[in-house]
Symmetry: C2
DNA sequence: ACGCAGCGTGTAACCGGTTACATGTCTTAA
DNA sequence: TTAAGACATGTAACCGGTTACACGCTGCGT
């Protein structure tokens, strides 16, 4: 038994395909008799419209492409959760595609979106502007996530890293810390750069404050290694700001193993507010990732549906959360 | 400038659409001259094939639907990560759809998959068999995840909850624990039921062992509450097995607050091995969720591509991980 | 010289919907 | 009584690909 088509429904209901289509799409110029007969035929045949056919003739898919660099961890699940909320509310599905760093595949993945989606949310931190422009499928509205970009060709929505890092700096300064370590993220990463830069700028405004920056790669291990290395070299410091929570957690472990008291001897702060941060009492910057996804997707769907504002760059706000790793024990 | 179609390419290359199609699909009966001219025209026009059109005529979409009950947390991101790995390897995209508990929408979400996907991975723990059968789109291969089901109509792949719970029971018995608490998951949940049942069965084989089961809802709070209540009622116990890690973590907190030593006074074990379990030294059952996703999707794609084995039920293995919450302090 | 196979190419039907336009029927006003 | 309009319905073109089949050409064997 092959799948029923609209023509099967039409002949069974003894009406034309046009009438069936009208009934199915809630068009009003249909007699109630026709409506009933079509409904009956649909039910009897278990008919379900064929999405590809509809997409082809309407040039609308009601799907949104989501292209992310890596599909793991809290960040990913949160952003998708936010998008899903908006998508299902507004009748869209999400087409997921990871953009692996070995990017030839990524390129084709992006192009493969033509005819599949009405728009796309793209996060491609490691792609340069030119590469991006060359890769993006033409004619598909795009919202760029956390990707500095472009001559205003696409909408962009990104975290307010600068505000977060500045808030941490002010907090540490207010605590009177003078010898501050920053464990930065990977050099190519734009978020990491912004955090490091804003932090350094604000710390530099303190009196007699010394800042040392070391490099990490966002992994817990790299945070632990960085602090362990500092301890071995007898570097003196009374505060650590890691560019993300994972590294901050690594730092906490290294400090605990070395017997350094947190926060008395060393205050520690991170960025992201992952769930574990709360359990460990880690001061951090809360990033409402799900909201970012919601907001970005709403905007994209507006654009897709023609209700769109012109492309704009938006900064998504963040929030300092003070916990015991910098406050009283 | 509208998007270029295959006919634009054909006329520009001065060949027929059939030839263009043949070149694009790597069909070999094409002269090298034709091949070059088509390639040139494609490049000049920036032509990208239209996926919906191709899907319609080939009856293949190269997409797989992923229908999950809720899109958050570690479980979700892990399972999607596993699926994505397989999908991108084999040239598929994932179409994501959450199945909200208020399920009228869910039903339509499932049906909306027709013509959009070649197959679907469905996880619908709260749907009954009949409901499921009525909801699933006909003619689309399905793999059910963690959903006990059916008269063998679809493939099923689920966690070996029984093995995990049994292993925990044996571990606790080997430690000589005699008064054991089980904090169960929500009553309607199949995983929770299997864990509770297998655990009870194995514990009953111990000598002089008393098992008390209390109910939770998989949340950390419910674990904490459950243990707090037991302590208040002066129930004596020397081991707690929670049906998931979240509740086990709650249990740990309640015990710490009451000053009970873990593991000396009370051994605690969970299920899932979420990242936090490692940090807290929680003994648990490791579930390789990403692998489950990989495995399930591989099987589904095999079926889609005709290389499929008949529907079967598979149990995905799990692994006991002993940490300090039951071992030496 | 002829037939036939093999190869490259083009024509047109088809996938399953939507929808502009034509058609037919009934009502209503002149 | 009849022309005009409103309304429900049907016919067929179209969306952009794929592909069965037909066709024309070349080279071979007899």
């Amino acid at each position: 038994m092959a799948e029923a088509t609209i023509r099967d429904v039409a002949s069974r209901a003894q009406v034309s395909v046009a009438s069936v289509s009208r009934v199915l799409n809630g068009f009003d110029k249909v007699s109630s008799q026709t409506r009933e007969r079509v409904a009956a035929a649909v039910a009897e045949l278990g008919y379900v419209p064929h999405a590809a056919a509809r997409s082809l003739s309407m040039a609308r898919t009601h799907s949104i492409g989501v292209v992310l660099p890596d599909l793991h961890g809290e960040f990913f699940s949160e952003i998708v959760r936010g998008m899903d909320r908006v998508a299902s509310e507004r009748g869209y599905l999400l087409l997921l595609s990871s953009l692996h760093a070995g990017s030839r595949l990524g390129t084709s993945a992006l192009r493969a979106l033509r005819g599949r989606v009405d728009g796309a949310m793209v996060m491609a931190p490691h792609l340069g502007e030119e590469e991006l422009a060359a890769t993006l499928p033409p004619g598909v509205p795009i919202v760029l996530l956390n990707t500095r970009s472009q001559q205003g060709l696409h909408s962009t929505i990104s975290l307010d890293n600068a505000a977060g890092a500045t808030a941490v700096a002010e907090h540490l300064l207010a605590l009177g810390r003078k010898r501050v370590i920053h464990i930065a993220g990977p050099p190519g990463n734009a978020d990491a750069q912004e955090r490091a830069q804003a932090f350094a700028r604000r710390v530099a405004q303190g009196d007699d404050v010394v800042l040392t920056a070391v490099e990490g790669d966002f992994s817990e291990q790299s945070g632990e290694d960085a602090v362990a290395a500092l301890l071995r070299s007898h570097q003196r410091f009374d505060a650590v700001f890691a560019a993300n929570d994972n590294m901050a957690i690594g730092a906490l472990q290294a400090l605990r193993q070395a017997g350094r008291q947190v926060p008395e001897a060393v205050a520690v702060a991170g960025f992201d507010d992952i769930p574990m941060a709360r359990h460990l009492g880690l001061t951090t910057v809360r990033v409402r990732i799900a909201e970012l996804g919601e907001y970005g997707l709403s905007e994209l769907i507006d654009t897709v549906e023609g209700r769109g504002a012109p492309p704009a760059s938006t900064l998504h706000p963040v929030e300092l959360v003070v916990r015991t790793s910098t406050g009283q024990a």
